[in-house]
Symmetry: C2
Subunit: 199 residues, 2 copies
């Protein structure tokens, strides 16, 4: 059952196309828009066009940026000998939040997933290999998610990098800090045991 108001149904459809937004939530959002002042609705509408117009991928690391090269790649204080490979900009931000990592990044914009029709060519792997062609980079950290697709992508890329004589590492697996052993899954516990170190 729809409202039979074309412009409203249309707006609900647009919101409902956002992944993770159901029909009910889309309705709620459309009503929020309708109850805005015209000026505020215009600001919302312009923000969409503006973001879409300005945001592009950094030529070097493929992270989103409103300049040709992003501020991390251009930074003079960053350690250019190490590249952390992540799935998407949100993961990059997670590392930046820690404030501990001072190297560069490379954003893949996805993971290899034959079931979803994502092939290696669809990711920015070519661009990564290009960055490794001079001898600046000494280490590549594979920081994809610890899922089947994340692991497969990390393996695929590390096999391509190995011949270049560059160290390839991956994030440590283990019990999350503050986590509870009782609720840890078997695989994580196994990995934590395997990766144990002396204290």
């Amino acid at each position: 059952m729809s409202y039979n108001i074309l412009s409203l149904d249309n707006l609900i459809d647009q919101f409902a196309m956002i992944p993770g937004v159901g029909r009910k939530s889309a309705q709620r959002m459309a009503f929020y828009i309708i109850n805005l002042s015209f000026e505020d609705a215009k600001i919302f509408s312009d923000a969409i066009i503006d973001a879409k117009k300005r945001i592009k991928k950094c030529k070097i690391c493929q992270n989103i940026s409103d300049t040709d090269e992003c501020s991390i790649c251009l930074s003079k204080t960053r350690d250019k000998s190490i590249i952390c490979v992540v799935q998407d900009p949100k993961d990059l931000l997670a590392f930046e939040r820690t404030g501990e990592y001072n190297g560069l990044y490379h954003v893949l914009h996805g993971l290899i997933s034959p079931l979803d029709g994502v092939a290696p060519e669809d990711l920015s792997i070519k661009e990564l290999l290009l960055r490794l062609s001079d001898e600046t980079v000494k280490e590549v950290i594979m920081a994809t998610n610890p899922t089947i697709e994340g692991e497969a992508t990390a393996m695929y890329i590390s096999k391509l990098i190995k011949p270049l004589n560059i160290k390839v590492t991956r994030l440590a697996y283990g019990i999350p800090v503050g986590g509870n052993l009782e609720y840890a899954d078997d695989l994580t516990l196994n990995r934590a045991l395997e990766g144990r170190c002396e204290i």
Copy 2:
């Protein structure tokens, strides 16, 4: 921590202002927009402006409509002697979905709530009383939500209508169909007992 990309942060802010949308969800939505083609982003942006431009309130029942008077108020087959008063257009749609109700509606666009600063003047009560001034309407059904604000609003309006010699009714309280007595709250059970009828 933000992305330090003005247009992206701006878009995230816009999504995050929608009630019920948190920062993380807003980020996800903004990324959905960025990954759209420019044409699709334009369609989304236009849908907002278009809905805002076209949708107004029906002059009679105050329901949202893209015409001056909505299709329900204009319908020749509707029973014009009965008005169902609801909080918002979503509630109206819920009744329409049943296909059982054939009267008219009146949409209040809110409930009286002193804590939230919503006074009776902020609702379309004036417009409702105006509709009751000729002798067409024989019954007004108060179909506000069974919450404190909903009850208070129903009481307030019914006191205004009583002197006009029009029947004022409210929805029946009771156990929801398919519900479980074990999990029904005390108040609902009490109301269901009070409202019991012979079989």
